[in-house]
Symmetry: C2
Subunit: 73 residues, 2 copies
Amino acid sequence: MPKAEILDPQGQAVVRALGRLGVTGVSDVRQGKRFEIEADDTVTREDIQKMAEVLLANTVIEDFEIVDVEEIK
Amino acid sequence: MPKAEILDPQGQAVVRALGRLGVTGVSDVRQGKRFEIEADDTVTREDIQKMAEVLLANTVIEDFEIVDVEEIK
């Protein structure tokens, strides 16, 4: 997601558009990216961290979070 | 996130780039959008549902999920 201090024009555009939908109680909307990664056991958390830092996130303006999701077989 | 049957060229580009990072165990990557919405108690779940369907998601090619996150005061 964009870092807290980074202006988020897309999120602000959504907040403005909400008025037209009749929804008034929303104070902020922030838009970011979400990646779902399917990987086998050879891929470590450090691999995912490196992948996120190098390929998926722009760490100058974005923060990221890694969430483990086990597939139920 | 893109529906399962929808081709995800951005995700495929990441999978190809991973080889250059030396990460080989990743079978699939899917990229989607994530919105964080700050709202007061006047905003109902139905409001968020309508907002997602009308403004935030393209329901022809995307699925979406609403996750409640309580702010700890």
